[in-house]
Subunit: 248 residues, 2 copies
DNA sequence: TCGAAACCTGCAATAAAATGCAATAAATTT
DNA sequence: AAATTTATTGCATTTTATTGCAGGTTTCGA
């Protein structure tokens, strides 16, 4: 039994059950628990699973989305705060998902009246106690990774409507590649979202600036506003300003 | 049971009910209350929940609570458990919202493969870590009261598809009025859901049996299965059995 | 204020992990 | 092909983690 072979079997197990016990794996794969532990540690290093005492968990299981966002929470709050200033009474807005977005809608003033279309169930739920905002959840296949709706149902639906403003979070933005993402389904939806909106605001924490993912979402020229946790006068941002992007 | 696994389960409970009691968790997860307390303390440290005397609260929603208000999840668990036994591999299922429903999908065995359409964002989210179930969230206007999607978008969409089974919770069911509800938007959606499904399973806790709300959802004759927390042989249920309803 | 319930602390039993080491298996070089 | 290096594995030992329990203390709600 090759090590790689073992690893792929372990991944399968983890994906299927969301958890594995070292002892079980040792028995199944007919190696010592020490070997399994070493395997799990390597796979944890590689980010494939999360090693815990006694075994391992799938990443999605270990970090229940809602609270994984202690990460860079301050930055996201700052961004959310700036984003809100762009929203005016009566606007029809389209939003993606992500912790920053959830943070943002949670901070919307109770006196603001607007219509928000979203592909994110969490965004909708967050708005459940807002008195004046009408929420339309755009349905489709639910992507378990990103916890938003994707697929042809979503893109087809988006074709029929025009929005004032589209708010998107991103994991990659750079001068050379524009806005990029790692999941093809998401990218297709984001492209539709951008196409259907008059203006596009991209929200990005500073550390993701000038980094790229695999798949292109859009060019810099399509962005109206770039919202980061940095000061708009920050050196790093000036190159984006030259692309006709309004900085916040 | 892995410690982190327990933590994940606890977070789910907290998100679902906004609060948990240590004693309940100890029973459910089959560990001592001391262990639960240690878990809750750690999770509080990590910022995932808020520990309070007697249990824990969700971070986003921590109001003080008394010992007196214990949520009656037991009945709902029983119902959920019975409902699951109706679901077979490969089925295409439609579900409404409500805590019982969320409880149910959370308990679905990881080896079950099925397609679940739902109007409830919470149901979709609850299924995010299920390896084999395809989730389609049906979009539309998000109803803030009931936390599900309603409106013409939903009913229109439902017209196009046929489902094997529809699962609905209800607040009112009686011999004279059939299934009833208090929210017109919801009722319209429920009617569509029933029309699009071959079979209808209604889930109802015992105390709601033989009670009526304002607006009619459907006749008893349209119900295939009635799932309660009572024993199917219970006296109260026999009248329903005479209506050709299968009792669970 | 009182009694019950929940809490905390330290302790012991058990289980899992880390570490160092030797044996074997693969890969690489000569 | 032989020799050398490197990687992998299992085992023994030590260290750490997890858990339940006993006890004394605090908190809660009536």
């Amino acid at each position: 039994m090759l090590k790689k072979e073992r690893h792929s079997l372990i991944i399968k197990q983890v994906n299927l059950h969301n958890k594995v016990l070292s002892a079980d794996l040792a028995l199944q794969l007919n190696v010592s628990e020490d070997t399994i532990r070493r395997d799990l540690n390597e796979m944890d290093e590689a980010g494939e699973i999360v090693k815990v005492h006694g075994g391992a968990l799938s990443r999605s299981y270990h970090y229940p989305f809602k609270y994984s966002d202690v990460y860079a929470a301050d930055a996201k709050k700052k961004i959310a705060h700036k984003a809100i200033s762009l929203i005016k009474d009566g606007m029809v807005i389209l939003t993606g998902g992500g912790t920053t977005m959830i943070e943002m809608v949670g901070m919307l003033p109770k006196t603001l009246s607007a219509t928000i279309f979203t592909i994110s169930p969490l965004v909708a739920l967050q708005l459940a106690d807002h008195p004046l905002i009408t929420v339309i959840l755009i349905g489709g296949q639910f992507s378990k990774n990103s916890q938003v709706c994707v697929g042809p149902q979503v893109t087809g639906y988006l074709n029929e409507i025009r929005f004032d403003f589209c708010f998107l979070g991103t994991n990659g933005i750079s001068l050379s590649d524009g806005v990029t993402d790692s999941d093809l389904d998401i990218v297709q939806v984001k492209k539709s979202m951008i196409r259907s909106s008059n203006k596009l605001a991209v929200m990005c924490i500073a550390e993701k600036l000038n980094s790229s993912q695999r798949i292109r979402v859009c060019e810099l020229s399509q962005i109206s506003c770039l919202i980061t946790d940095l000061d708009p006068t920050d050196q790093i941002l000036q190159a984006y300003s030259r692309e006709n992007i309004q900085l916040y």
